[in-house]
Amino acid sequence: MLQLDLKSRKSIYEQVMDQLKEQIMTGQMATGEKLPSVRELSKSITVNPNTVQKAYRELERQGYVYTTSGVGTFVADRSEIHADLPALQKAQENLDDAFRQLLFLGIGYEKAKNLTMQIIERRRPDHDKN
């Protein structure tokens, strides 16, 4: 179940995209699992169905899901997802800026690094553990 934050700076569309990607990438939704229909998801999270439709189309374009016409939308094989370069670059810049902000707080490089490593470890997907 997705949780939207109406106070977030992120748009509803970005939040829907992020949360579906998270469920797919962490394995909370398994490969081949059926996503709720646009209508169902729209009603359950009170989001414009056109926005949900757009999110599904974009997830399909990026390779996270596939649609079988008349049947539904399904989680694609994660190994098929290839990061597109601008998105990868953007994510790296965000990471760089976040680490820079951490250093600005004056906690020292080692502590900043440890904090970051803890976060990184917390984000390790279940299927990558052991």
Partner: protein, 234 residues
């Protein structure tokens, strides 16, 4: 689909709508934005058949709304200044609506009235401003319109009521492709519910487009860019 093409409307010598065009695709939620006096309410009044343009064409599902009683019954307008018959209760208003709107849904009317905690037997004239608005929503949504026109719908409503209304709207858009045209000043609220956006200034459309294609620009940024910048040449 609502299609407005090159519509001009004069109030005396002043063009309140000036060669205005706009398209609202079926099943979408279209947000109409603009400063006070931009022509938003005038536009909605044309669509509901209260006003007739001087030139240009307005069609809903390919038909002209003027003098088209069958089409008018598929289009519900909740104006900013509400109208109820003097002394009527919601139940009494609902009898009038039931005769007028062939798809009247009594169960929906009762559910919404209960959900908003309104007394259906009480004189609407004694309701607060916000309660009157809620009463108007109960009546409009129970008429099951194909097109819902809303003028500043959330003015004077508390956050709980706004959330409930949003749910009723989204249900009808998702379940039966109801089309919504809504005017508001509130960029954040519009950004959360709309997928199309039109920005009006001095009776002209200065921007129209798919909201999701603007990302990552926020609607507020766009609104200021279109309306708050250098004064435009007339």
């Amino acid at each position: 689909m609502i299609k407005i093409e090159h519509v001009t409307k004069y109030f005396e010598d002043y063009p309140v709508l000036n060669d205005l065009s706009l398209t609202v695709p079926k099943g979408s939620i279209y947000g109409l934005m603009g400063l006070n006096g931009a022509g938003k309410t005038t536009l909605l009044r044309h669509l509901s058949g209260f006003l007739r343009q001087n030139s240009g064409s307005i069609s809903i599902d390919g038909q002209d709304i003027t003098d088209n009683e069958a089409l008018k019954r598929q289009v519900l307008f909740i104006p900013d200044e509400l109208f109820f018959f003097r002394g009527y209760s919601m139940t009494e208003m609902s009898r009038y609506y039931r005769k007028l709107y062939p798809r009247w849904n009594e169960a929906r009317f009762e559910e919404m009235t209960r959900d908003f905690g309104l007394d259906p037997k009480a004189n609407i004239g004694k309701f607060s401003k916000g309660m009157k608005k809620q009463a108007a929503f109960c009546l409009a949504m129970a008429a099951m319109p194909d097109y819902l026109l809303l003028d500043e719908p959330v003015d004077g409503l508390d956050p709980i009521v706004r959330h409930k209304l949003r749910r009723y709207l989204m249900d009808d858009v998702a379940d039966r492709e109801m089309t919504v045209l809504v005017s508001s000043h509130n960029a954040k609220e519009m950004e959360d519910i709309c997928n199309y956006i039109g920005i009006l200034a001095k009776g002209k459309m200065v921007f129209e487009g798919d909201l999701l294609e603007l990302l990552p620009t926020s609607l507020e940024e766009l609104f200021i860019e279109k309306l708050g910048g250098e004064p435009r040449e007339q």
